[in-house]
């Protein structure tokens, strides 16, 4: 009984991590860009939604819809102006630049919003739940999980059913030859980052409504997102979902044994998967 609940809560938590990770996975998969600012960008998105909610009195879901185009434009511009210059074989430039960005975002938000804990209010939804047989499932966690699922299905559709998706994959395979097809790799990358920022905004909605956030909490969640991406396998979005779920379930199961092991269990699951499958569960090209 308790174990079923533990697993279900773990899967739902995994949905949250997968949602955090999906944008990262997209960017990592297409341009091998390790974005250390991803966690802070989610926090930035949450603040944007918060501002829209408080300033315009919008419902958080509506506010997210308003935030999405803004964040898309931000991602697009960021990639075009800064991140494209860092791409290449060497992994250090993107690492350092996005780390710098992470510091800039965190401290910029601190200046703008102070260190106060904030939360986006989702009203009665916050504590609503649905009884599902022996377990009770919170509506927000469920929505989070379903959103993660929807994001991953949508990204897969985009990837495998559209001409833009073909261009993404081609550029990711071989940017030089993609250029010979008339694809501008820099613009394609900018669009990809823009889309990743849309996913970031959706993640921000759930980060902001789930619990408190403040300008400094980004990095703590980043590592789980990275773990999900890596054990999922480079470029596999379903893998990212699976990776998120593995970490989520490992955490709740670890906690059920003893809360001391909760976070450790997630990391250990990550290391175990890597020891067995260094390229992740579903590496591209298999």
């Amino acid at each position: 009984m308790i174990w079923i609940d533990t697993i279900i809560q773990g899967i739902l938590l995994g949905g949250l991590y997968a949602l955090f990770a999906a944008g990262l996975s997209l960017v990592f998969g297409i341009m091998r860009l390790v974005n250390l600012a991803h966690g802070d960008l989610i926090v930035l998105g949450a603040f944007l939604i918060l501002v829209l909610v408080t300033a315009l009195g919008l419902n958080p879901f509506l506010a997210t819809l308003v935030a999405i185009p803004l964040m898309f434009a931000l991602g697009w511009g960021l990639q075009l102006v800064i991140l494209n210059r860092t791409l290449g074989d060497d992994i250090l430039p993107p690492l350092l630049v996005t780390f710098g960005l992470s510091i800039v975002i965190q401290n910029g938000l601190l200046e703008g919003f102070s260190a106060d804990s904030q939360r986006i209010s989702a009203g009665a939804l916050e504590t609503a739940s649905i009884p599902l047989g022996p377990v009770t499932v919170g509506v927000m966690p469920l929505l989070t999980f379903l959103s993660a699922l929807a994001v991953i299905v949508a990204l897969n559709q985009l990837f495998y059913r559209t001409s833009l998706g073909r261009a993404f994959r081609a550029t990711s395979d071989d940017p030089v030859t993609a250029g010979l097809m008339g694809i501008e790799p820099n613009r394609i990358f900018a669009v990809a980052t823009g889309i990743a920022f849309v996913v970031v905004t959706i993640a921000a909605l759930y980060l902001g409504t789930r619990a408190n956030f403040d300008p400094t909490i980004g990095p703590a969640r980043l590592i789980y997102a990275f773990e999900a991406v890596i054990i999922g396998g480079l470029g596999s979005l379903w893998g990212t979902l699976a990776g998120g779920i593995i970490i989520g379930v490992a955490q709740t199961v670890g906690a059920a044994i003893n809360p001391e092991w909760q976070i450790l269990a997630g990391h250990v699951a990550f290391l175990v998967v890597l020891a067995v499958r260094p390229r992740g569960l579903f590496p591209k090209g298999l």
Binding site: S163, R166, A167, R169, A170, S172, D173, D174, V176, T177, A178, G179, L180, M181, G182, I183, E184, K284, G285
Partner: protein, 234 residues
Amino acid sequence: MAFLETRALTASYGDFQALFGVDIALEAGETIAIIGANGAGKTTLLRSITGILRNGADQVLFDGKPIGTASPPEIVRHGIAMVPEGRRLFPSLTVEENLLIGRYGRKAEGLWNLDTVYDLFPVLRQRRNSPGTALSGGQQQMVAIGRALMSNPRVLLCDEISLGLAPVIIRDIYAAFPRIRQSGAAIVVVEQDIGQALKVADRVYCMMEGRVTLSGKPADLSRDAIHNAYFGTA
């Protein structure tokens, strides 16, 4: 004025200079061949034309316009398409997707579309849903050519399309050339297979160590002259 022209074209990879003032000219509808030993700079020449290597603006002219500083996608929009050395199919795309992506940057109307490419290389129609890299080398080369044709180019650059192919397959591929010429495209073939090159080309340029050492009509070139141009004189 020639249709596509390079003037005193130079190119380097870092410290290493690969081209030293190359002049070639291509007339509309014409097919030229560029031959030369390994490392002579043939691929480098094509990479310069397609904008992968950037040059001085006036070092490459197309229709009289300087395009030396244009990026590869801009070159594609001008109507210059390339079949790159080593085929370079996109491994995560199927055969059909590989073909479709050829239209991404230039959706010009013309003879070539999925159907006509499949007519040209019927075997591809059967394999349309396999990953491009699961094909045999010859079939991959067909995809690479088809992919370039999908943009209905005005100039088609082919880099060593017979490389690594069995003689029969090379025959099949070159058998497609007359149809490509009929569609109006001018063609540059880079070949090490001199016999093949001489057969399809209207004119031939021979390169050695980054320079053009010989040019002319196939019929006018003697074996010895080609040999000298290839390896230098003793």
